[in-house]
């Protein structure tokens, strides 16, 4: 296998090649590390590599293959982990200075599940600090470049996770999505990214940003790999009280079912002013192809859509201000050693450890929760969250999935939106409503702009309706040829 071939390498190919004795898990891991060493200087997707752990797992898989054992579903698959999920003994920075040097004493459940399924975990991936951002420019360790256009952002906050898959630095990766942080970078980098239903994948071991919104999900090169990853990741976990015991579907098997007869809703609010005409055209073309495959296309309305971004930025920042209070210099990470009193130590540690966007969100969230403003901001936003969720529940009474753009524009240039927080927040206009409602969603490539920038189409499914979502995604992928 040539190194350039890594770019298109999929999970099934890895398993088949290892089972057939054409390669080894060790060789594949080494090839990925070689490629990272030579090419990732430019992209900057990895923050740290877990070589020892990866190679010991690869050796275990190779021994299994040699014995002729039945290989687990992700046997030998090189996978990267967003640096907000913890791996025992490996650095976990959340791309923040405040966690510099921290090595957590346990594994996230998602990490455990991948490894038990045979995955080889290569290392930790760059992202926006504490997953706060839409461009990966908020990382304390430097921005990530989009492998498809080096002057552009990869999207955020899981920018490193999307870029690593697009550049062939991993066969698949884990990201997290609080307001669009899987779907938007997947669209910008031209890969598949899945936001599972809230409660579908355990959050244990995820460094929390906004707990009622945070979700863990995969980035892959195709829809089948995404389904495979989801099958491994999904399921009840005693360590996350919000994880659901709803039975896990046969996601890979579901892809075999034709989409004929599926009802697809097209939310008119997602095609309004501000949508790039090339993205509109690509999404409409995907809809035409789905129609040709026998799907029933129906216009629907999600009337509260325009309130999703302001609602999100109150709720997410309020939860963040509470979650991030744990970073105080006492138990882990950075501590300002000059401080003479405890209160002084808290303030100086947090001032030195947090970046500008994180401070902005903590301040906004604290303001929204403070005495005299709680009802006006936080409670109001929670009520509008109910309305936004009801929008989806009514729409899903008449359709199986929704199809819409992921983002209003293709990947923008580095530095283009960093000065204006509201402008940056509007980047999330088509993604945050699904986050607030807890439904599942994903981004699938559906073409490119005249400049060659990837375009993604968003497929939204009902709560725990991952099968239908993945079937439609597969149909879109097939129709792209």
């Amino acid at each position: 296998m040539k190194e350039e071939g890594l770019k298109s390498l999929t999970i099934d190919q890895v398993r088949d090649a290892i089972a057939g004795g054409r390669t080894t898990a060790t060789a594949l891991a080494e090839m990925h590390y070689d490629r990272i060493a030579s090419e990732d200087k430019e992209i900057h997707s990895y923050l740290s590599l877990s070589r020892e752990r990866a190679l010991s797992q690869a050796a275990r898989i190779d021994a299994m293959a040699q014995r002729g054992d039945v290989l687990p579903p992700l046997a030998g698959v090189p996978i990267g982990i967003k640096d907000v999920l913890v791996m025992h003994g490996a650095p976990a920075t959340a791309s923040s200075l405040i966690l510099k040097g921290y090595r957590p004493p346990y594994d996230a459940t998602a990490v455990t599940r991948l490894e038990e399924a045979g995955a080889v975990l290569l290392g930790k991936l760059n992202c926006d600090e504490f997953a706060m951002g839409s461009s990966n420019e908020n990382s304390a360790y430097g921005a990530v470049r989009n492998p498809r256009a080096l002057d552009r952002v990869p999207g955020g906050s899981s920018g490193g996770s999307a870029a690593a898959v697009a550049a062939g630095f991993a066969v698949a990766t884990l990201g997290t999505d609080t307001g669009g942080s899987i779907r938007q970078p997947a669209a910008f980098c031209g890969v598949v990214g899945v936001l599972p239903t809230y409660g579908r994948v355990s959050r244990y071991g995820l460094i929390a940003f906004a707990s009622s919104l945070d979700r863990v999900g995969p980035f892959t090169k195709n829809v089948k790999d995404a389904a495979r990853m989801l099958e491994v990741l999904a399921g009840r976990d005693a360590m996350d009280a919000t994880s659901s015991d709803t039975p896990v579907g046969g996601y890979v098997a579901a892809l075999e079912q034709p989409v004929e007869g599926l009802r697809i809703g097209v939310p008119e609010e997602y095609f309004g002013e501000g949508l790039d005409p090339q993205i509109r055209a690509a999404v409409e073309k995907a809809l035409d192809l789905l129609k040709a495959m026998g799907c029933v296309i129906k216009p629907v309305s999600l009337p509260h859509t325009k309130y999703a971004v302001p609602t999100y930025y109150v709720i997410a920042t309020a939860e963040a201000s509470s979650n991030l209070s744990r970073f105080d210099g006492v138990r882990f990470g950075l501590r300002d050693s000059e401080a003479k009193t405890l209160a002084d130590m808290y303030r100086r540690t947090r001032d030195g450890g947090f970046g500008a966007e994180v401070k902005r969100r903590i301040i906004l969230g604290t303001y929204a929760l403070s005495a005299g403003y709680y009802d006006a901001y936080y409670k109001k936003a929670q009520q509008v969250r109910t309305l936004l969720t009801r929008d989806f529940l009514s729409a899903f009474a008449g359709v199986d999935v929704l199809v819409a753009p992921v983002t209003p524009t293709p990947a923008f240039r580095l530095g283009e939106k960093t000065d204006d927080p509201v402008k940056m927040y509007l980047e999330d206009i088509y993604s945050v409503a699904a986050s607030l409602a807890g439904i599942c969603g994903m981004s699938v490539p559906c073409g490119q702009t005249q400049d060659g920038l990837p375009i993604g189409v968003q497929i939204l499914g009902q709560h725990f309706g991952e099968e239908s979502m993945l079937r439609v995604a597969k149909a879109v992928e097939t129709s792209q040829g």
């Binding site: 709803t246 301040i363 604290t366």
Partner: protein, 109 residues
């Protein structure tokens, strides 16, 4: 949010204190400006009448299945389980005697 009174520099300082953040002279006016811009944008939520609309803190609250229905079952039995290793936890702390986290003096005189 009603009347949309401007966030003052004193408000920023008060909130920073609540959040245990020490802001620099340059950060204060910038955060004041950003906060006003973001809250101005958030003010459009006032266009909606939310009388009698229940607030939603968790997705489970609106679902008939999944997390909400199982709320009781979702709680673990109260049984002692192995936990993360204490020595490893303490080793990650900036200052410790192995048993306790050490911090600068708590009471200011």
């Amino acid at each position: 949010m009603n009347g949309q009174s401007e966030v003052t520099i004193e408000d920023v300082r008060r909130v920073a204190e609540l959040a245990n953040l020490e802001l620099t002279q340059e950060e204060e006016p910038r955060l004041q400006r950003d906060l006003n811009a973001i809250l101005g944008y958030v003010a459009q939520l006032n266009e909606l009448d939310t009388t009698d609309v229940p607030p939603m803190a968790q997705v489970g609250e609106v679902l008939k299945t999944g997390p909400v229905q199982a709320q009781g079952e979702m709680l673990r039995s109260d049984i002692v389980q192995p936990c993360v290793d204490r020595a490893e936890v303490m080793a990650a702390a900036p200052e410790t005697d192995g048993r306790f986290f050490k911090v600068p003096k708590v009471i200011e005189r």
